[in-house]
């Protein structure tokens, strides 16, 4: 299917949907999986999406919006796959300046050539377990041994600095970087380090698993965690600007120009999407979702894309549900990529958890347009170099580059 054909298909469906907006309609489009729950209530009408063309951190940008440009149009095919040594895991890669970086969760950091898939360098951090994905600043940042954040030279993989937090084996999510500050949470604290040399700038100690990747926007880090408190911290010194109780443990945090969104699970296994005013933390929205998992979140142009046991879209201005599709799947590092026309996210197989692929959904109505890749691809995707990168077990442990056919 050509890109033009896809474009025409989307327009055609939008015309059809114009006649049924406002009602709940069960649809089974050309790409939908038979028997999978797919309903449309209101069509999503995105403006021009602005987002990074290279995802240098998980979620695409420091605000974790999932917005992207220069996203390849479906259908996709596998350009190459990269195999990682070991058997521990394969998180979502990050992409920048022609290189793709990842880890195998068990001691090795990899840089691959984005064009060829050849290994450019590897860095073995002793017997330290590299548990977490890299992020990109001037250096490649990884968490090593569960204890430190290590800055590696982007070109050579040599160590540039080690940012030690002194809390023992206490890390669980990757670092984020913005405005020259590296911020990373441990299961007890949130630390800010100088991105240039790893010097510690500040530490805030919530004390209860703030191990969810913060969202950073306009010099403010929005930090969630298990303690159900959402905090707005000044990036430069960690000063608390506001805090608010949310009653849920946080799994995803994202920030838009005017809102902070939290996707989390209450102690009663209810998934909540919460929205707060970015200036003062006042609550704007609280919507519950079926399913007990809060896997992924993206927020683009006033719409929240929510990954639970299915992929759902909510219009934030009036808390309107737009569509959902039960084909959503994925693993421990699932993501959502949104551009003007489509949404990419992991989708499950036909009832088999060993058949995950990267799915393309029509952004307007959630129709599953196709499933792409081979083997199992359950983590990611990430965007870069006019391609998608998705991790899992494409043939062996590793990741795959997906490009337009």
């Amino acid at each position: 299917m050509s890109e033009d054909h896809t474009e025409g298909s989307v327009v055609g469906r939008r015309r059809f949907l114009a006649g049924v907006v406002g009602a709940s309609v069960a649809l089974a489009g050309c790409g939908d999986v038979a028997g999978v729950d797919h309903e449309v209530e209101t069509e999503v009408d995105l403006g021009a999406v602005e987002g990074p063309a290279e995802w240098r951190t998980r979620g695409g940008d420091p605000a974790n919006t999932g917005a992207a440009t220069e996203v390849p149009a479906e259908p996709l095919e596998v350009a190459w796959t990269a195999n990682l040594e070991g058997h521990t895991g394969s998180p979502t890669p990050v992409v920048g300046d022609g290189l793709v970086f990842t880890t195998n969760h068990s001691g090795t950091v990899y840089a691959f050539d984005a064009d060829s898939g050849e290994v450019v360098w590897t860095a073995t951090l002793g017997d330290e377990r590299v548990r977490l994905p890299a992020a990109l600043g001037e250096a490649v940042l990884v968490t090593a041994g569960g204890e430190d954040v290590v800055g590696l030279d982007r070109e050579t993989g040599k160590r540039r600095f080690v940012a030690a937090h002194g809390e023992g084996r206490n890390l669980s999510v990757g670092p984020r970087i913005a405005d020259g500050v590296v911020i990373f949470p441990t299961r007890r604290s949130v630390h800010g380090f100088d991105a240039a040399d790893g010097d510690r700038l500040w530490t805030v100690e919530p004390g209860l698993s703030p191990d969810v990747e913060p969202a950073i926007r306009d010099g403010v880090a929005y930090v969630g965690g298990d303690d159900t408190v959402l905090r707005a911290l000044a990036l430069e010194d960690g000063r608390e600007l506001w805090r608010t109780d949310t009653d849920v443990r946080h799994d995803q945090v994202a920030a838009t120009p005017d809102r902070v969104l939290v996707l989390g699970v209450s102690p009663w296994d209810e998934v909540h999407l919460l929205a707060f005013d970015r200036e003062d933390g006042s609550r704007l929205l609280d919507r519950t979702f079926e399913g007990g998992r809060a896997r992924a979140l993206a927020v683009v142009d006033g719409y929240a894309f929510v990954g639970t046991d299915r992929l759902s879209v909510v219009r934030l201005s009036d808390d309107t549900r737009c569509w959902h599709n039960g084909a959503f799947g994925g693993g421990y590092h699932s993501g959502i990529v949104v551009d003007d026309e489509r949404v990419y996210a992991p989708v499950g197989g036909d009832g088999s958890r060993f058949d995950d692929r990267i799915g393309a959904f029509d952004v307007a109505d959630g129709e599953l347009l196709g499933r792409f890749g081979g083997g199992r691809l359950y983590n990611g995707p990430a965007v870069g170099d006019d391609a998608l990168y998705a991790a899992g077990v494409p043939d062996e442990l590793g990741f795959a580059k997906l490009v337009p056919e």
């Binding site: 698993s209 303690d227 159900t228 408190v229 102690p267 009663w268």
Partner: protein, 438 residues
């Protein structure tokens, strides 16, 4: 093994049925003056009938452990790790210990009267008494008696001075810790029934929920009373939980009962979120319910005023209450505004997260003067700053605690005239904050 043992006994006995509230006309009148504070400095777990855990006029001379007494050395059985009750303080320090609930040991529990924890060996022990089948809850003091629940389904009264048994009353399986006040003894049991006893052990009333209806209770709906009742002048507040494990209750109900006859005034239902439920406390007409995943503030009419979700993947403790502030443990130690649940401060646990499920701070705190004591640690009441002791979060310790066994009991310390007593599940009684002792 408390609930497991109970369920096994029901399975053997067949069907039993309880329903509603029964009153016994032979029971002598309750104290018309309301709820008295009991006998001794700390006559029941939680200190007072309303369970607020406050000793605001006591000043501690230090902030560390000043004595320890190894109860386990005087335990006659083979159980290695004893399950220990919260202590109470009167003429002696009284504490019960026996096999853990999940221990299959067929051994009795022991009620210890410790006369001086600074003395080694038997010199520090005034007397001991047997609690058949094991320990079932914390003791309480009433007049010249010390009362204790035993896992054989009885409440037993002993002479507080020499340990002679005065009377025993059959209650029901798995009786809870005891609350005393207004000339009555209040106890819950493993059927979800609350019973009021006179000071002579006569049953005054029982308030149940219509349980043990055939085999239904053997599966997942068997209710039990969690923690001990909390008392006010006219009410008994008790928590009934249901599920197949007291470690993972599926539902809970806060019961407001008329203290004179056990009639139900209202019920407040809550979802514990799969976390254990603790004893409520009461202050200024509000019941503070440690309902597993959240702490609930429920007004006198049974309406929720606020709910605080702590986020800890464990239970929240019974809160201590003083001057409009609640102090509760839920991995961290928190101070909350009693009016709206807003956080005043938190003492952050530095316990390593890989041990998060094994040694988290969940012990009920107590207020002692200008300090808060939680587990074996002492904090500043105003700021939450650490002053000394052990909050169970030593990063160098695999279990967090630097004491033998399983850490302090969740029911919390007892406060003497100038010091605090803490029991651990390892069967050790610690004295905290006393004068330095040679």
């Amino acid at each position: 093994m408390r609930r497991r043992r109970f369920l096994a006994s029901v399975g053997a006995a067949g069907t039993a049925t309880l329903a509603g509230c029964t009153a016994d006309g032979d029971c002598p009148p309750a104290d018309a003056d309301g709820v008295d504070p009991g006998t001794g400095p700390w006559p029941q777990v939680g200190g007072t009938p309303d369970n607020v855990g406050m000793a605001s006029n006591v000043t501690l001379a230090s902030t560390g452990v000043t004595a320890e007494f190894a109860l386990h050395e005087h335990y006659p059985g083979d159980t290695l790790v004893l399950s220990t009750s919260g202590p109470v303080v009167g003429e002696h320090v009284y504490v019960a210990a026996g096999p853990r609930e999940d221990d299959d040991a067929d051994e009795d529990g022991v009620l210890f009267a410790v006369s001086d924890p600074h003395e080694d060996g038997a010199d520090g022990l005034a007397w001991t008494a047997t609690l058949p089948d094991g320990v079932a809850g914390g003791p309480a003091l009433l007049g010249d008696l010390v009362l204790a629940s035993a896992a054989d389904g009885t409440v037993r009264a002993f002479d507080a001075t020499d340990g002679d048994e005065r009377w025993r009353a059959d209650i029901g399986p798995s009786p809870t810790a005891l609350s005393v006040g207004g000339g009555r003894i209040y106890v819950g049991d493993g059927r979800g029934v609350v019973t009021a006893l006179s000071v002579d052990g006569e049953a005054c009333w029982s308030a149940g929920s219509g349980v043990l209806d055939g085999l239904r209770g053997l599966v997942s709906d068997t209710p039990w009373i969690a923690g001990r009742p909390a008392l006010t002048d006219d009410r008994v507040y008790s928590v009934r939980a249901t599920g197949d494990s007291e470690y993972r209750p599926e539902a809970g109900v806060l019961l407001a009962l008329d203290r004179t006859d056990g009639e139900t005034i209202w019920e407040y239902e809550f979802d514990p979120g799969g976390q254990p439920v603790r004893t409520p406390s009461v202050a200024v007409g509000t019941v503070y319910l440690p309902g597993g995943a959240a702490l609930h503030a429920v007004d006198r009419e049974g309406t929720r005023r606020w709910r605080w979700v702590h986020g800890h993947r464990g239970a929240v403790s019974t809160p201590a209450i003083a001057d409009g502030v609640l102090y509760a443990s839920a991995r961290n130690l928190y101070a909350l505004d009693a009016e709206d649940g807003a956080e005043r401060w938190r003492l952050v646990s530095r316990h390593h997260p890989s041990n998060i499920r094994t040694a988290s701070l969940e012990s009920a705190p107590v207020v002692v003067g200008d300090r808060v004591v939680a587990a074996l640690g002492v904090a500043d009441r105003e700021t939450g700053d650490r002053l000394g002791g052990d909050f169970g979060d030593d990063p160098e310790s695999r279990r967090g605690w630097n004491v033998p066994g399983y850490g302090p009991t969740e029911t919390g310390p007892a406060v003497g005239e100038d010091r605090v007593y803490v029991a651990t599940d390892g069967g050790v009684l610690y004295e905290i904050g006393g004068p330095d002792h040679e």
